[in-house]
Symmetry: C2
Subunit: 397 residues, 2 copies
């Protein structure tokens, strides 16, 4: 098994729940050594979601390729163990509310003093400066506040959140970028630095081309459901056995689409020969298109349109996605073992590296399953470890 | 001005439109030298969106911190200039359909031969292996095929896309992670490698906790609109002057929410004392809550609930986001100059680095605005450059 490009990068991971664990899982998938510090009760996600043999699939989905150490950070002895860990670590990642690290005695100055090479990454809701710094954050709220929800949904319906917690996850991926950037920068300066990503900022950054239109026109973008705001025909169309999504993003592709439907004449018809005429004649055109497509199956049209070079697909539910031969070919559903537990299905690796591919190098850790060996690596003797465990400072898994 | 942690990293950028330019902009924001190779007509996005003084805001939003070189890759002379660029570059990024690089003579073997340290990153729709490899891809289609659309939208409504092109953008961020990982790995091996991210895979990876429930239960996840599938009260509630989003993610927060509304008794009432009872009594509870909240303004509740530690916010439209004091405090709306053009507003940097923050180091380039100086850096003499320009191999901006 290859070691991954981040082999040797030691990450002390104080995060829990979603955004932080997603960030450190990405780093772990790439070969970093993720030491997940958990309180005695564990990351709350260990107890969430449906259990398989007593094991949370939700936890498995965010915590493969990590080692778990249970450490009571609210005790002086626990803080001292953490400081010893940080002394030769490369990265510290946390997703507490701003200020929590300070309360643990880990101010920026103290951390720098302890280890000037340490990269200290924080993921939070709104950022650590500004009027909302003390507000509690949550994915749903970040979707609302960032402008993201406001543009999603039917034209005559309410703003619509995305069901996946994308503000957490996007912030987690951005934090991985920032951390790796800081690691590369450190090669030149010898110095670590802070990295911060706020969920609202990360999600707002995805409004890129919608925001540029707003900046240019001062017109607030409206919801348009599944239709393209500026182009027609585009969207979902009805076949004999269900709908198909078609993205006729420009005239050349639209011509191919219409040709495939034997409607090639439309683009030359004076009623429909510009996009604005087609936008105005949406209902007519929709009927025309639906009447053609309704005669044949989705599979027929998928085949014919893809062959013609028209971007199209079906709206798959998760059972279809998981059964999709392309998803299988891309290894996007894999199994991960748990330490002393069952193997569970999880999603695969979206980043494909040719020479040192992501792989499961470490199982999903049981709570505290690596406390002993991590402490031993730090130089603690078996006696010292036993004493820390007796005092409740650490828990051996 | 600091140089950024990626200073000295030279990226040859063959990408256009969305996913690739977003990836390379992130790298450029962190200080990498992005050499954007454009065909004589330029990246099509230069002509898209509303123009300000003849300049596309859409293009500005994806192309600050880059240099533009116009190079005709379909000529032998153009290919030879590209090869000279690649000989001492660190990274090549492309978002063509799989196979296009091969057609340009840039097979994996040829590239390795040319420069074994080169990292070759590809962003595409479905990946470069598998049955769909030749299908054209597009954000809307990736949203449909990945399962993402299927979980978004009202319970009784159609599947709903997100309006921003998130499959492009998420793939772009992931590609940045993969590239930086490969750069770090190269420190140890001296060898570059390929990096690939497919839009469908990237978006599927965001289904993380939804997919783990599916894997554990085999139940296909359903759409639930803005409501939480498992928790109530949670969602949008009506105040005197509009709605407020509230995320009562667990009982402790719910108690704070109800206390703030003077409904603290609810949690102890035998009709509502478990989450399943509350789920069953949704309509009653919604009335109760709305009747309290309707008496006061959103600002009142925002203040009171945030103070109580309840995650809440309003569904902001873009004009509100841009005017939000928190967004201002986080510098999330900034100005970028164009080379020989106007300054335009664009979104700021979601990755905040303490020592070497992202900043605008290079303006949005005019088409071919850096052809001359990049060629000169490569060692071309003024005479040679003039000849290449005469023959149409390059265009000077």
């Amino acid at each position: 098994m290859n070691k991954g490009p981040l082999d040797g990068l030691r990450v002390i991971d104080l995060t829990r729940v979603l955004s932080g664990p997603f960030c450190t899982m990405i780093l772990g998938d790439l070969g970093a050594d993720i030491i997940k510090i958990e309180p005695p009760k564990g990351d709350p996600v260990r107890a969430q979601g449906t259990m398989t043999d007593g094991h949370s699939g939700y936890f498995a989905g965010f915590n493969r390729n990590k080692r778990s150490v249970v450490l009571n950070l609210y005790s002086d002895a626990g803080k001292s163990v953490l400081r010893r860990m940080l002394a030769d670590a490369d990265v510290l990642v946390e997703n507490f509310r701003p200020g929590t690290l300070d309360k643990l005695g880990l101010t920026e100055a103290a951390l720098k003093d302890m280890n000037p090479r340490l990269i200290v990454a924080s993921i939070n809701g709104y950022g650590s400066t500004g009027p909302y710094v003390d507000r509690p954050a949550f994915d749903f709220i970040a979707q609302a506040m960032s402008g993201f929800m406001g543009v999603n949904g039917e034209a005559d319906g309410p703003p619509m959140r995305a069901a996946p917690p994308i503000s957490d996850l996007v912030a987690g991926i951005y934090a991985a970028v920032g951390i790796l950037g800081a690691v590369i920068g450190r090669e030149k300066t010898g110095q670590g630095q802070t990295v911060e990503v706020a969920m609202v900022n990360g999600l707002l950054s995805l409004m890129a081309y919608i925001s540029s239109e707003y900046f240019a026109t001062q017109k607030v973008p409206q919801r348009t459901g599944n239709d393209h705001p500026l182009v027609y025909p585009y969207g979902l169309f009805r076949c004999a056995d269900g709908q198909i999504a078609v993205a006729n993003s420009h005239d050349q592709i639209l011509q191919r689409f219409l040709d495939t439907l034997d409607l090639g004449w439309v683009m030359a018809d004076p009623r429909y020969d510009t996009n604005s005429k087609r936008m105005a004649a949406r209902e007519e055109l929709r009927e025309l298109i639906d009447s053609r497509m309704a005669g044949k199956s989705r599979d027929h049209w998928l085949q014919a349109l893809n062959t013609a070079g028209v971007p199209c697909g079906i709206v798959q539910d998760l059972s279809q996605v998981v059964a999709d031969p392309q998803i299988a070919a891309q290894d996007m559903v894999i199994e991960t073992p748990w330490q002393d537990g069952p193997s569970l299905r999880v999603l695969g690796f979206p980043i494909k590296l040719g020479a040192t591919p992501c792989t499961i190098r470490k199982p999903v850790p049981k709570l505290g399953g690596n406390t002993g060996n991590v402490l031993a690596e730090l130089g603690y003797t078996p006696d010292e470890i036993a004493k820390l465990a007796e005092g409740g400072t650490v828990v051996l898994g």
